[in-house]
């Protein structure tokens, strides 16, 4: 699943560590989401949506990533 997390994070001038702390996850989780290697749970996706005041579909796109089997 593609996402715009890196762009939103940059717009809000958060580092990966700062965003991870705000969302209650590890920095590695943020990194994996930004690199399209991990799709967040629904609850984490909603937290991201609320934090950036954007609807889910503005942040996440369910178009599959080429080369990923899931």
């Amino acid at each position: 699943m593609k996402n715009r997390l890196r762009v939103l994070r940059a717009e809000h001038q958060f580092s990966q560590a700062e965003l991870a702390e705000k969302l209650g996850v590890s920095r590695q989780t943020i990194n994996a989401i930004e690199n399209d290697k991990y799709d967040p749970s629904l609850s984490l996706a909603f937290k991201i949506s609320r934090l950036f005041h954007k609807p889910l579909e503005h942040i996440f796109d369910d178009e599959p990533i080429a080369g990923r089997s899931d």
């Binding site: 940059a10 001038q13 996850v25 590890s26 920095r27 590695q28 989780t29 930004e34």
Partner: protein, 159 residues
């Protein structure tokens, strides 16, 4: 102001690059100890609780051969299972304190090491029976080693 501009430039560079910087998973800690960073509060608690559980188990095994059928037999025989229960509880508490990706990596590593260790362990045991060697059932110890390797491999997929 300069630092803000520098920050924006860094962010632009990150956005323009195809990938973010690497994840820096604590591979050594995962391989040797089986958890994410030995200095995190959760890992420290896990290490202490595991040590207590392991000591109880070892004491239970050692003393069970000594006490015989005395009045101390029952308390001593409960030590080893109690130690194992403490280790299981410690892992449960540790996993519930992890974030979702770390927990998923731990679950995947448990699933892999459980199946692989039983398959390899039974193969070794069956070979021992065939050639007449008394090879002990080692797959429990094998599972821990395999879990460390699995943790490193699976964490690497999300780096």
């Amino acid at each position: 102001m300069n630092s803000l501009n520098q920050y924006k430039m860094d962010m632009d560079n990150q956005m323009n690059s195809s990938k973010s910087p690497g994840s820096n998973w604590p591979y050594t800690s995962l391989l040797l100890f089986g958890y994410f960073g030995k200095n995190s509060p959760g890992a420290k608690k896990l290490a202490i609780r595991n040590t207590i559980g392991l000591l109880l188990t070892i004491c239970g095994i050692i003393f069970s051969g000594v006490v015989g059928q005395t009045v101390y037999a029952l308390p001593v025989l409960t030590l080893a299972p109690l130690g194992i229960v403490i280790i299981m509880w410690a892992y449960k508490e540790y996993l519930s304190g992890l974030d979702e990706l770390s927990r998923m990596i731990q679950y995947e590593a448990f699933a892999f090491s459980y199946g692989a260790a039983i398959a390899i362990g039974i193969s070794i045991y069956a070979t021992g029976l065939y050639v007449g060697w008394a090879i002990p059932a080692i797959w429990i110890l094998l599972a821990e080693g395999l879990r460390g390797i699995a943790l490193v491999y699976i964490a690497g997929k999300y780096a």
